[in-house]
């Protein structure tokens, strides 16, 4: 059951990622990405990570991608260049590089992954929010503070960049 749900969501995620990368309309790109993030959240939920699934939807679909759509609509970008159009040599090199990076990652990770290992979502019975919160306030307190500084810096930077000089 879990395994079938995972497979269905995985296939759908790949299909919509392809659409997000190749389609010519930026709005369709962003919407496909909304679907991708939705299916990733569904995968997290299926694996028992309910808190992560909710955060994924709230932050990515609810805020980041809405911001993307806002900018696309503000700049009124209707249609952009075709996927892989332009200089053919560079495009071929780019594609080769992307696949090479992917191959490198797979090769690097290959030794780490257990071939037979597998897990059931039962590992997180009782919800993951409480243990995540506890760890955030103990083991990972410093990174947590740091990320808030990063966010504030980004906020100030974004305002400074987008402001009209007057």
């Amino acid at each position: 059951m879990v395994i079938w749900a995972f497979l269905v969501f995985a296939v759908l995620a790949v299909v919509f990622t392809t659409l997000a990368v190749v389609h010519r309309s930026p709005v369709v790109n962003v919407l496909s990405l909304v679907m991708v993030f939705f299916f990733l959240a569904a995968i997290y939920a299926v694996l028992g990570m309910d808190f992560l699934a909710a955060i994924q939807l709230i932050v990515y679909s609810g805020a980041v991608l809405v911001l993307f759509l806002f900018v696309i609509m503000l700049l009124n970008i209707r249609r952009v260049e075709r996927f892989g159009s332009g200089r053919p040599v560079q495009a071929a090199l780019g594609a080769a590089a992307a696949i090479a990076v992917g191959a490198l990652v797979v090769w690097a990770v290959r030794g780490l992954a257990p071939v037979t290992g597998g897990v059931t979502p039962d590992a997180f019975a009782g919800g993951t929010a409480a243990p995540i919160g506890r760890m955030l306030m103990t083991t990972y307190l410093f990174p947590f503070e740091l990320i808030s500084v990063v966010l504030v810096a980004a906020l100030v930077g974004a305002i400074a960049l987008a402001r009209r000089e007057s």
């Binding site: 309910d50 808190f51 939807l57 929010a129």
Partner: protein, 351 residues
């Protein structure tokens, strides 16, 4: 196993039926209520007190011609109202509509009035799904190929992000004192009394949070004074300018369903859900459970009326005012509430 599936399906059916019935009733209340506030009669021809007016409206909308404007992106144009409806209807599965004293039907436990009783993330689920609702409006604005619709969509995206922030931060304090995301726990936490007679509703210690939350949900549901995405004086009809017949009806219904969600959330988070202090905290049997549903319904009805009341009383904000209030007032006040409640908890006060 199968019994659980059937129970869940029946609950889903009942909740859907109640929601879809609530919409025409709210439309009637809105029209008669606005007439009352503006000192006129309102619809009074169809049925007693015009009660059948929404039915006639629905028939009119159903039989109207489906218009599709030139040059629209057809797929997105048809998808947008669907997104709005689906998102509005799917938030209800984590809302407990009444107390569960261990109800059984034909000897089978039905887990109270909650469609998804095992979902631990409760409130977070509502925010997660609710945050997708904005796509319906943005897409409608974009796909319509109309400048007013586009402006409505842009406004809506900026407004939703800004007020979602204030809304989420104000809820954090409630979750903090409750120690759970589950809404039935939130109500449980409020089911006692201070000094023996003051209901221990969250609205008292979390007063700032309650105010920011209520204001933010007005913005999230696109209701006056925050209905900038469809401001008819400036944008014709905003994001749904190009929508007619049932496609318009879908947007219209989703707005009312979102109002019901917002009202249930206000009642559950800040006004004790179905409990009135210790009264109805743990009612027994079917009678008690149904009484708790009725009390909950009455409280929700009050806030639905509050929505109508505010809409016909307050004028609309300007867009720059809207953003200024969102970022310079709502967010700081919500954070202040969060800090205050934290201090109260640290001091060991009964919050």
């Amino acid at each position: 196993m199968w019994a659980d599936v059937i129970v869940t399906l029946v609950k889903l059916g009942v909740v859907l039926a109640v929601m879809l019935t609530a919409v025409p009733i709210m439309v009637w209340v809105e029209r008669r209520g606005s007439a009352l506030i503006q000192d006129r009669l309102g619809p009074n021809r169809v049925g007693p007190f015009g009660l059948l007016q929404p039915v006639v409206d629905a028939v009119k909308l159903l039989t109207k011609e489906h218009l599709t404007p030139e040059g629209v992106n057809r797929f997105l144009y048809y998808l947008a109202p669907g997104i709005a409806m689906v998102v509005a209807l799917s938030t209800f599965i984590v809302i407990p509509f009444g107390f569960d004293p261990g109800l059984e039907l034909f000897g089978h436990p039905i887990h109270g009035f909650l469609v998804a009783p095992d979902l631990n993330i409760g409130v977070l689920y509502i925010f997660a799904v609710g945050s997708l609702g904005v796509y319906g409006i943005i897409l409608a604005g974009w796909a319509s190929n109309n400048k007013y619709a586009l402006l409505g969509g842009i406004r809506s995206s900026a407004q939703m992000i800004s007020y979602e922030l204030a809304m989420t931060i104000s809820v954090v304090s409630v979750l903090m004192t409750t120690g759970s995301f589950r809404l039935d726990r939130v109500v449980e936490h409020q089911s006692h009394a201070w000094l023996g007679f003051i209901p221990a509703w969250n609205v008292v210690p979390h007063i700032l949070g309650a105010i920011t939350f209520i204001i933010a949900v007005f913005a999230e549901t696109n209701r006056l004074p925050f209905d900038l995405p469809e401001a008819e004086a400036e944008l014709v009809a905003g994001y749904h300018t190009e929508y007619s017949s049932m496609k318009f009806a879908a947007f219209f219904m989703s707005e009312y369903i979102n109002m019901v969600t917002a009202s249930t959330l206000i009642v559950l988070l800040y006004f004790g859900g179905w409990s009135i202090g210790p009264v109805l905290a743990h009612p027994q049997g079917w009678g008690g459970a149904l009484t708790s549903v009725a009390v909950f319904g009455l409280k929700v009805a009050f806030f639905l009326w509050f929505f109508v009341w505010v809409r016909w009383t307050l004028p609309r904000f300007r867009f720059d005012q809207l953003m200024a209030i969102g970022w310079k007032v709502m967010v700081p006040v919500a954070v202040l509430n969060f800090v205050l409640v934290g201090v109260m908890m640290a001091l060991g006060w009964p919050v």
